[in-house]
Amino acid sequence: MFHMERELTQMMASLETTDGCEDRQQPKIYAKNSMDRFGDDLCQLLLSYLSFEDRFQLKCVSKQFRRTVFESVVSIEINDQFMQQILNTTITETLATIAIKCPNIETIDCRGIDTEYETHISELLAIFRDNCLNLRKIYCNLWQNSGQTMPRIGPLVTRINSLTLPDN
């Protein structure tokens, strides 16, 4: 192609370059003290210790953050506190936003949902079932009327394990 020589020199002078970046035509040289120097893979790994809320909060730092901050979410824990927080919003919309952003979720743990919010569990699981194609494990408590939940995910269930805690 053209400008090959210049591109090559730039490439050699650059440190880590951001790969797969949609709007940069050429590799750039980044300052050594700037996090911009890291490629997407490393950036994703570095951000993987953030809480769920922090991820939402910080996805507007840069396009690289937006691309990478949710990639590492493979499990999500939904408890009463979380439900309380999203009850003030349109629940389905908020849950769908989360599920779409985190397509790599494999595990949902909703054992922290108490009976008060139990009615939402079936809806919640359906949303994640539709958006997270890698979903493999669901941890949840069973109640007397859990029968409503099961038919919605029923055909997808291939194995049920019962975990009983020592004190219960």
Binding site: S34, M35, F38, L46, C60, S62, T89
Partner: protein
């Protein structure tokens, strides 16, 4: 070839590991500096481990140093990395069970690791992280990641950009649109 089952016989044995760490090998930074490191410690780097296994331990001990060509592996970064692996080489092996993994991810850094990674010079900090990533030292990358996450937790986007010297490449309109998605976070206030 990062196959966990791919252990050499006796590799997990504590005595063997301690004895092997008395064997010193040489590592060469991208700036040309040569540094000694215990064999067991050095093998915390999957990159070094694979090289040692393909070349044979004898060859590595007696011949030229192992060259770490990535630009992030500066003299200063390599010295820090050797300090870390020499402290951690006898850590118990990591369990990848779901609950254990979750606990480990949520676990705070030890006092020693906190002091180790709290480097004022951000260029050096990033060199250490990038070099650890290149050398495939997962434990050290994790320390770097936890450190960065602890620094940016609860901060605003602008504060994070300033701290980590990140360029804001969003237009004002794009930024507004993103803020709207966050309604549920602010709803609690």
């Amino acid at each position: 070839m990062a196959d966990n089952a791919d252990h050499i016989d006796g590799d997990d044995n504590e005595d063997v590991r301690a004895q092997q760490n008395l064997i010193k090998i040489k590592l060469k930074s991208s700036e040309g500096g040569i540094y000694e490191c215990g064999l067991t410690a050095a093998k915390m780097s999957d990159l070094v481990k694979n090289m040692v296994e393909s070349l044979g331990t004898d060859a590595v001990v007696t011949t030229e140093p192992i060259i770490l060509g990535n630009e992030a592996v500066t003299d200063a970064a390599l010295k820090k990395i050797i300090e870390w692996v020499e402290f951690h080489w006898d850590d118990p092996p990591v369990d990848h069970d779901f609950e254990d993994e979750k606990d480990r991810r949520n676990e705070e850094l030890s006092h020693w690791d906190k002091q180790f990674i709290d480097v004022d010079d951000q260029a050096l900090l990033f060199d250490v992280i990038a070099a650890a990533n290149y050398m495939d030292i997962k434990g050290l990358v994790e320390v770097g990641a936890k450190h960065i996450c602890s620094k940016i937790r609860g901060k605003s986007c602008q504060e994070v950009r300033e701290m980590l010297k990140i360029t804001n490449d969003f237009t004002a309109e794009e930024e507004d649109a993103i803020h709207k998605e966050n309604a549920w976070i602010y709803a609690k206030d």
